[in-house]
Subunit: 200 residues, 2 copies
């Protein structure tokens, strides 16, 4: 009975890959064990159970997304940084729909939860983008939430085939990024001069 040589990281990585292939809802302990050439109960030597497994997959996904966005942003600022970050994030979600889906609805249990740290890193990558638009400090958190909502929403909807109409999705995404860029530049200008009027 040769050993398979598994460890938690290998199990989580295989689980994430399988989730990308079949969807996180169809990720079953049995199928993952089969993929790893092992019997189902053996997995419990490495992860606490299904809940723990998807949690670790979510941590992995957030970390990878943070890396991808952070890497894409390097050397760019302003609109270019925003575009690069947006593209990197969306590409990641589309390339890894299962592991990203594992992150939605995942709540961090405490301040020392690795999930919280991974989330912070991803937020930090977007924060770096915002630094290129010199927003008032009071608005940074709002802008961050806006970007997160926008990109998370778009990626989630596209990943779920939520856009029925056949209009070009890449074109919509580019429009959306340009929209966010214009808005952020306007908001940064508002820090210098008077804010844009409420009624044109």
């Amino acid at each position: 009975m040769p050993r398979a040589g598994l460890d938690p990281a290998a199990v989580v990585a295989a689980g994430a890959a399988l989730a990308d292939e079949v969807g996180v809802a169809q990720l079953t302990m049995g199928s993952l064990a089969e993929r790893l050439g092992v019997r189902t109960p053996s997995l419990y030597k490495h992860v606490g159970g299904q809940e723990d497994l998807t949690r670790r997959i979510a941590v992995l996904a957030l970390g990878e997304a943070a890396d991808a966005v952070g890497r894409a942003v390097q050397g760019y600022a302003g609109r270019d940084a925003l575009g690069a970050a947006a593209r990197a994030f969306r590409d990641f979600v589309l390339a890894h729909p299962g592991r990203y889906a594992a992150t939605v609805g995942m709540e961090s249990t405490g301040p020392d939860d690795p999930l919280a740290a991974a989330g912070e890193r991803l937020l930090g990558a977007f924060m770096a983008v915002l630094r290129g638009y010199d927003l008032p400090d009071s608005e940074t958190v709002h802008a961050l939430r806006m970007l997160r909502s926008l990109f998370h929403g778009f990626a989630t909807l596209q990943s779920a085939s939520g856009f029925r109409w056949s209009a070009d999705i890449d074109e919509s995404f580019a429009w959306l990024v340009a929209f966010a860029d214009r808005g952020l530049r306007a908001a940064s200008r508002a820090a210098d001069g008077p804010p844009p009027p409420g009624q044109p």
Copy 2:
């Protein structure tokens, strides 16, 4: 053996209510049957199974959301309509997290799928909002997708307690709506004059 007097609509309504209480992932046929004072297999006389049940819950949720947004928008235009629609949508998702969660990742099987019709109605409600900003026709679909991504993303993230920091979430939402409004007004102005320059 007195009859419970169930019908598909009653089962779906009870399922949606239960999903709101315990989350769509914990919505089990057994718990729903117990809630209805009936044995589990009896549910199969009214719905085709769990897949069919959550599908019907999603249709119900989309229809209710469309009603709520459509009602909120009545009599308003422009920024007021956008704010009313945004508020109505978010309130709905937060009040009914379970049934809304049933809609994500739900793909309509064909053109005569009731799910498609319900989705169209919700989109139509947001389309009415966009009519207040006279965008070029070519941009309407992009703007629609932007609004959908933005609101879906925000509501989903908040519903999942995804915003860790304590900064006021209502304030962020108001900022986000104002941001979208400014951007849409700029886009409508772009239809008249030249578009805003790429580099300031």
